[in-house]
């Protein structure tokens, strides 16, 4: 792998007389992509430069949890970096030829800042920064949501990145086509019939949809672990692979879900603005209600539940033998009471 990286970095720097790869190591966490940290030491006639970089590599297609394109992720990151103030790491290059690293991959600059966002919460060492960091996080999300969709949706690649028939010509067609995707996907994801609470969720959400808001570019995995920070500011929003055109409340709902699961309290900050939702509403004028947030908590969870459970079902039905997917079975079962709770199933208190 290091040799392939050295050759790739050398290709990107034809002026280099040598490229050394140092500190190559996998970064644990994140189940959808394999991520490695390394420094590329590039020597040219002018001297030596050390480049802190990341390699994000696809898993084999059969075991992929989210089938997304590194080219699309690269294009989006670069479009955000060059046309907005949303903090992102520069994407150096997509490497789409699987012959190089075994699967498609991308190389990104490693952003400065602390990735252990749990340090901001629960008596962590950086709790003095939490209001400032979350304020900037909220402002960054607002800028993303208010940015021109056409500018960020390069070549329309984020209209329907999963290629499942999503129609963004209006909010209603977006919702109709998304529910069609969810409901038609159910037979591909129900590795056990007792998962029918997810089917109930799809159908209930379709019957009870909220008011429309303008569609925008959503991060798609906006959660307490997907940013870095330093000096009271977000230094990078990371992991853009599930980004797409959608309803802005999807990012808020998913953050609310993951805030609880991560034992963080992003949604309670910044305190002086009355919390994340109040500040978001102040900046956008969207007036998102808690009831809407509850609806989008479920909607956003469905968006992740479909590919995750489909990957598990492919394992259970023998399409591949990846152990991780078997390991995820109990976690999937343990998540079902949350669906039941949010749908107000009688007797389900968490």
């Amino acid at each position: 792998m290091e040799n392939a990286l050295a050759r790739t970095v050398a290709d990107l720097h034809p002026e280099a007389t040598s490229v050394e790869i140092e500190g190559f190591a996998p970064i644990p966490g994140g189940f959808s992509r394999e991520t490695y940290s390394f420094d590329a030491v590039v020597t040219t006639a002018d001297g030596q430069t050390r480049m802190p970089l990341l390699l994000r590599k696809d898993p084999p297609a059969t075991v992929a949890i989210l089938e997304t394109s590194r080219q699309v992720e690269h294009d989006l990151i670069e479009q955000i970096r060059t046309t907005t103030n949303v903090p992102v790491s520069r994407s150096v290059a997509p490497i789409m030829d699987p012959a190089v690293f075994g699967e498609a991959a991308m190389i990104l600059e490693r952003a400065p800042g602390n990735p252990r966002t749990s340090d901001l919460f629960n008596d962590g060492p950086d709790t003095d920064q939490v209001d400032d960091v979350v304020r900037h996080l909220c402002e960054s999300l607002v800028e993303l949501h208010l940015s021109d969709v056409e500018t960020l949706n390069v070549g329309g690649a984020l209209t329907d990145p999963r290629n499942v028939g999503i129609d963004i010509s209006s909010w209603d067609t977006y919702m109709d086509s998304t529910f069609e995707y969810y409901i038609s996907s159910y037979p591909d994801m129900d590795f056990d019939p007792s998962m029918l609470v997810i089917l109930d969720t799809f159908l209930t959400l379709r019957r009870t949809r909220p008011r429309p808001l303008p569609l925008c570019l959503v991060h798609g995995d906006f959660n307490p672990a997907n940013f870095l920070y330093e000096n009271g500011r977000v230094s990078a929003l990371i992991d853009w692979e599930n980004s797409r055109v959608g309803d802005p409340r999807e990012d808020l709902g998913w953050m609310m879900t993951m805030d609880v699961l991560s034992n963080t309290s992003v949604m309670s900050h910044p305190h002086d603005k009355g919390g994340f939702l109040a500040y978001y509403n102040e900046l956008t004028g969207f007036d998102v209600t808690m009831e809407e947030l509850g609806w989008f908590t479920l909607f956003g969870t469905c968006n992740i539940a479909v590919p995750v459970n489909s990957a598990i079902k492919r394992r259970v039905t023998g399409h591949h033998d990846e152990f991780l997917h078997l390991y995820m079975v109990p976690s999937s079962a343990a998540a079902l009471p949350s669906f039941a709770h949010l749908l107000n199933y009688p007797g389900v208190e968490l």
Binding site: P28, L196, L199, L326, A333, L336, P337, Y345, P346
Partner: protein, 168 residues
């Protein structure tokens, strides 16, 4: 309870992962032996599970009869040991027989069929709800009232302390 993957599927997956991903990476001889013994023990569990309850019940019921028959064979023997056997037969041998447990495969098949039927009901109720039939709300509540405690019990049963490895 989930019926797929089955308990046997989970155990088979662990045995396979130990062989494919763990054993080849181990360099220490004792660690290799431990991994191989773990595979063997898990295979033992796989073989025990399908027959364990039935075998226990059969043996339980057989032993009741054995105690009674052994005692009967000693009828008329005037010895303390024979009296102790008779006493044991009168106490332990007087236990009630336990019914043979139902065939697990049949239970699982029935469970899957019923749960699948509930899924079909939820789809049909959605059609009725969208048609404005209020009673469908009540019917859905009946289904949800059954499912809710199931999900809570399942989650409590499968959750392992320490959370999911690799997620914080």
């Amino acid at each position: 309870m989930n019926t797929s993957p089955s308990i046997d599927d989970l155990l088979a997956g662990v045995i396979q992962a130990l062989g494919d991903q763990v054993l080849p990476a181990l360099t220490d001889a004792k660690a290799q032996a431990t991994a191989a013994m773990s595979q063997s023990l898990l295979q033992t569990v796989r073989q025990l599970l399908p027959v364990y309850d039935r075998c226990l019940v059969e043996e339980h019921n057989d032993m009741i009869q054995v105690l009674q028959d052994a005692s009967a064979a000693l009828a008329g023997i005037d010895a303390e040991a024979a009296q102790r056997i008779a006493a044991t037969a009168a106490s332990e041998g007087a236990r009630d027989e336990i019914p043979t447990p139902p065939d697990r495969d049949a239970v699982i098949a029935g469970h899957r069929a019923l749960t699948t039927a509930l899924g079909d009901v939820v789809r049909d109720l959605d059609e009725l709800q969208r048609a404005g039939i209020d009673q469908a709300d009540d019917a859905l509540d009946i289904v949800r009232t059954h499912l809710g405690p199931r999900y809570l019990r399942d989650a409590a049963t499968v959750t392992v302390g320490g959370g999911m490895i690799g997620r914080g």
